[in-house]
C-alpha cells in the first residue's frame, strides 16, 4: 500500500526531454523513493560515471512544512567511489524550495553533450546552457546564477570544479557550504554535464489535518528543546564533539596512530568559537541553528562542522585551527567531500611518515604531519586532477593500489568510502555501523548515539538491550545499529536533519506517524513507517549484492582489528567484529 506518492520529474539529459510522473509506490519520501527507483531501473554492472547511471534527487511529503528542520534533499545514484549504492543528503534551503515548486523527486537519466543547468520555476522546467559556468567554484556558480537570473532568493544545488573533473568524492552543494557530500554524487552529476539545479517555488505545503499536525510539530519542538544537548548544540554545533571524543579517547590523531591530541585546546570548539566564529547560521526552520560563519585570514565561509574541523587538524596532526578552517572553506568551494579529502590527505601523510612513499611520488609536496603546503595545495590538485591530485581524486582505496601493499594497510576505508574522524575501536555501535551499512565506511546512516549516553532505560525502550547504552559493550549492538538504520531511513524520508532526529533522539516512529498522519489527513501507523524503512533497508542490500557485494566486505580496516587503541582513556580497547556482525545479521535475517 502506498503511504504517499509525490510528483516526479524525469529529465532525460541525452534527449533533452522532460516528463512528469509519480514517485514510486512503496515509499515515504526521500531516500525510500530513490533506493527503490535505482533498484528497479538501474542495470547492474554499469559504469557509475557513464551515461547509464541515474541520478535521483528527492525530498519528502514533510519537507518545507512547519515541522522543524525538514530541510534535506537526498541525492542517490550508483556510487563512483564504492561501486555500490550511493546516496547523500544536504541540509540548507534547497530542499524546501524544491518541495514548494511542487516536485518531490527529480530523476536525471542520460548525459548532456555540453554543460547545462536545470531551471525550475514552479511548473516551468527547462534545460539551459551552462557553458559560462564551467570551471566556476560552488560560491561563484551560485552567486552568478542568482545575479543573472535577478533573484537573490533562488536556491541552487551545484557542483564545483571537483564534480566537473569527476573526482570520485565530489559533492553536490547548496547554500555554498551545505553538501550532499558522501559517495561522489557530484561526480555523477558532473558525468551528466549538469552543472546546477536552480529552483524557485511558491506552492504552499498545507497539512490536511492542521490540528493534529501542529500537535506533532509542537511535540517535536518540545522534545528538541528539552534535550540535554540542546544548549550545547546551539552554542557549538557538531564542533562540540571534539572534546567529547577526546574524553572518550577515540580521537583519530595522526591518522589513528594515537587517541590523544596534545594541542586539543588549540583546535577545539571553544577556541574555534572564540577566535574565528563571527555568528551562528541556521538551516531551514531550525531552532538549534547549530552552524557557524567563520572569518579568517584565509577568507570566510560557513563551517566548519566537526568532520572538517577534526579532519584537517587532529587527523592530519595539525595544530593550526585557522589553517584548517581555510582548508574547510577551500574544500567547500571546490566541491569536495571534507571527510574523504581529509582522510586521503591524512593517509598520505602517514604513508610518508612510514616511508611507504617518497617525496618523488607526490611531486615533492611536503607531507610532514600538519604540513601547510599539503593541506592547502592537495585539495586544489585533487579538484583539478593535476599531478598527484589525479590519482588522489580516485579515493584512497584506488590510490593505494598504485602505492602498493604497505600503503594499502594504512588506508581507512570500508567498501571504498573513507571513515569519519573517530576511532571505531572505542565506539562499538559506530564500528558496526561503519562495517555493515550500504554506503560503506560511514557513521551517518543512523547515528548509534544511544551508546554514548549511558541511559539504560531509554536504550532498553528503543532497542531492547540495556547494555547497548554503553559504548564499549558489544551486547545489543546489532539491535542498536538496526534501529538507528531504520531511524536514519526515516529521517532521510522526513528529510529532517539527522543531527536532531538521530543524534538527539527527538523523533521516534510514533511521533513520525503523527506527523505523517497530520500532514496527509489519513491514519498512518508507526508500524507502516517501520516496515517501509525495513523494506528499503533490504532493497539497498539487494542492490549492493546485485553489484557483486560479498559479505566479507562487511568489515573494518585491518588496523582496527589486529591491535588495540594504543593510548588515552580507551587504551586497550579492541573489537570482536565478527560477533557484532553475527548479531546484526541475525537482526536483519541475513545468512552469513
Amino acid at each position: 500500500m502506498s503511504i504517499y506518492r509525490g510528483n516526479c520529474l524525469r529529465v532525460d539529459l541525452t534527449a533533452r526531454e522532460i516528463q512528469r510522473g509519480d514517485t514510486p509506490e512503496n515509499g515515504i519520501g526521500g531516500r525510500t523513493w530513490n533506493s527503490v527507483t535505482l533498484l528497479r531501473e538501474l542495470k547492474p554492472g554499469i559504469d557509475p560515471l557513464g551515461r547509464e547511471n541515474i541520478l535521483c534527487i528527492s525530498v519528502g511529503p514533510l519537507t518545507g512544512s512547519e515541522l522543524i528542520a525538514t530541510c534535506r534533499f537526498i541525492a542517490s545514484a550508483k556510487s563512483p567511489l564504492t561501486g555500490y549504492l550511493g546516496d547523500s543528503g544536504a541540509r540548507g534551503f534547497f530542499a524546501p524550495e524544491m518541495r514548494w515548486a511542487g516536485h518531490d523527486q527529480i530523476i536525471f537519466t542520460g548525459a548532456s553533450d555540453r554543460w547545462v543547468y536545470l531551471w525550475i520555476d514552479n511548473d516551468q522546467v527547462e534545460i539551459r546552457d551552462a557553458s559560462h559556468l564551467q570551471g566556476l567554484d560552488i560560491t561563484e556558480t551560485t552567486v552568478k546564477l542568482r545575479q543573472e537570473l535577478r533573484d537573490p532568493d533562488l536556491q541552487v544545488a551545484a557542483i564545483g570544479p571537483a564534480g566537473e573533473k569527476l573526482v570520485r568524492y565530489s559533492v553536490i552543494s547548496c547554500n555554498l557550504a551545505r553538501a550532499a557530500g558522501r559517495t561522489g554524487m557530484g561526480a555523477v552529476m558532473g558525468s551528466k554535464r549538469l552543472k546546477a539545479i536552480v529552483v524557485r517555488g511558491d506552492k504552499p505545503v498545507k497539512p490536511a489535518d492542521p490540528e493534529r499536525f501542529r500537535r506533532a510539530c509542537a511535540q517535536f519542538k518540545s522534545n528538541l528543546e528539552g534535550h540535554r544537548d540542546f544548549e550545547p548544540r546551539r552554542r557549538y554545533g557538531t564542533t562540540r564533539i571534539m572534546d567529547a571524543l577526546a574524553r572518550m579517547g577515540v580521537l583519530p590523531s595522526y591518522h589513528y596512530r594515537s587517541a590523544v591530541f596534545e594541542d586539543l585546546d588549540k583546535v577545539n570548539a571553544e577556541t574555534l568559537r572564540h577566535n574565528h566564529v563571527v555568528k551562528a547560521k541556521s538551516c531551514f526552520n531550525c531552532n538549534v541553528f547549530c552552524s557557524r560563519y567563520n572569518y579568517t585570514s584565509y577568507g570566510e565561509g560557513e563551517g566548519p562542522e566537526y568532520e572538517a574541523q577534526a579532519g584537517f587538524t587532529v587527523k592530519c596532526g595539525n595544530s593550526d585551527l585557522e589553517l584548517a578552517i581555510g582548508v574547510s572553506n577551500l574544500v567547500n568551494r571546490l566541491g569536495l567531500d571534507c571527510i574523504s579529502t581529509a582522510e586521503v590527505i591524512a593517509w598520505l601523510m602517514e604513508c610518508r611518515h612510514e616511508g611507504v612513499i617518497s617525496d618523488a611520488d607526490v611531486d615533492g609536496i611536503d607531507l610532514s604531519w600538519g604540513s601547510r603546503e599539503a593541506l592547502l595545495r592537495l585539495p586544489r590538485l585533487i579538484a583539478q586532477r593535476q599531478g598527484i591530485g589525479d590519482l588522489l581524486a580516485e579515493g584512497s582505496k584506488r590510490a593505494a593500489e598504485k602505492f602498493g601493499a604497505e600503503a594499502r594497510k594504512l588506508t581507512v576505508e570500508v567498501k571504498g568510502l573513507e571513515l569519519f574522524s573517530a576511532d571505531p575501536r572505542g565506539v562499538k555501535g559506530y564500528a558496526l555501523m561503519n562495517a555493515v551499512n550500504s554506503r560503506g565506511g560511514d557513521h551517518y546512516r543512523g547515528e548509534p548515539m544511544l551508546e554514548l549516553w549511558d541511559d539504560e532505560e531509554l536504550t532498553l525502550r528503543r532497542v531492547g538491550y540495556r547494555e547497548a547504552a554503553h559504548r564499549l559493550q558489544e551486547t545489543g549492538k546489532g539491535a542498536l545499529v538496526n534501529y538507528t538504520e531504520h531511524l536514519g531511513i526515516l529521517s532521510d524520508s522526513i528529510t529532517v536533519c539527522k543531527n536532531i532526529s538521530c543524534c538527539m533522539d527527538v523523533v521516534d516512529f510514533d511521533l513520525a506517524a503523527e506527523a505523517y498522519s497530520g500532514l496527509l489527513g489519513r491514519e498512518i501507523a508507526p508500524r507502516e513507517l517501520w516496515e517501509a524503512c525495513s523494506h528499503v533497508s533490504q532493497a539497498e542490500r539487494q542492490f549492493n549484492l546485485r553489484e557483486g557485494l560479498r559479505p566479507e566486505e562487511d568489515t573494518l580496516p585491518s588496523r582496527f582489528l589486529d591491535r588495540p587503541i594504543p593510548d588515552g582513556p580507551s587504551k586497550g580497547a579492541t573489537i570482536d567484529l565478527q560477533r557484532l556482525i553475527r548479531d546484526y545479521y541475525k537482526e536483519k535475517g541475513w545468512e552469513r
Partner: protein
C-alpha cells in the same frame, strides 16, 4: 514595526514559516509577509518586513485599498484591490509580497505578533514607538523586490562586516 537585528539573525526563515502558517494555514515563502534576505557570500541574514516607514509610498494605491492602522501597520481592504501591484513596485525595501492576486503586507498579526514570538535567535522584536523610520536612502527604488531586500541587508550589514574585519567575534 518589526525590527530585525542583522547582527543576531541566523537566517533560519522560521519567521516566514510562522507568518505564512498563521495567516494562511500553509507554509510557503510566497505567502509570508516577512522575508529573509540571505547574502550567503557575505555571511549576512536579515528578515525584512514592512517598516511602517515615514514615506509610506505604498499608499499611492490607485484604488485606495490600503490604509494605515492604529499601530502604524498597513491594512488592506481586499475587495477594493485591483491587483495592479503599484504597492509592490513602490516599496523600496521589497516588503510587499503578492500571491493569488492580492498584496501581502505585515499586519502585525492584529497585535500578537507570531514571527516575533517564534524567532529562535531573538533577532526579531516589535518596536511600538518606532513609527517614523525613513527609507529615503533606498529611494528611488532599483530592482525587483527580492533584489531590494538583498540591497537593504547589504547596507544594514556593512557595519557588521566592518566589525568582523576589526576582530569582532560572536561572543564579543
Amino acid at each position: 514595526m518589526i525590527f530585525c537585528d542583522v547582527k543576531i539573525c541566523v537566517g533560519c526563515r522560521t519567521c516566514e514559516v510562522t507568518c505564512s502558517s498563521f495567516h494562511a494555514g500553509a507554509v510557503s515563502p510566497a505567502l509570508a509577509r516577512i522575508r529573509v534576505a540571505k547574502l550567503e557570500e557575505l555571511g549576512l541574514d536579515m528578515a525584512v518586513a514592512c517598516a511602517s516607514c515615514l514615506e509610506k509610498p505604498c499608499l499611492e494605491c490607485p484604488t485606495e485599498a490600503l490604509s494605515v492602522g492604529e499601530r502604524g501597520e498597513i491594512l488592506l481592504d481586499g475587495p477594493l484591490c485591483n491587483a495592479c501591484k503599484t504597492c509592490v513596485d513602490a516599496c523600496p525595501i521589497g516588503a510587499v509580497g503578492f500571491f493569488d492576486d492580492l498584496p501581502l503586507i505585515c499586519d502585525l498579526c492584529g497585535g500578537d505578533i507570531s514571527c516575533v514570538k517564534a524567532c529562535p535567535s531573538g533577532a526579531l522584536s516589535y518596536r511600538a514607538d518606532h513609527r517614523d523610520l525613513s527609507l529615503h536612502a533606498f529611494m528611488p527604488s532599483k530592482g525587483n523586490p527580492s533584489e531590494r531586500r538583498a540591497q537593504c541587508v547589504r547596507v544594514q550589514g556593512e557595519p557588521i562586516r566592518e566589525g568582523w574585519k576589526n576582530g569582532a567575534r560572536v561572543d564579543s
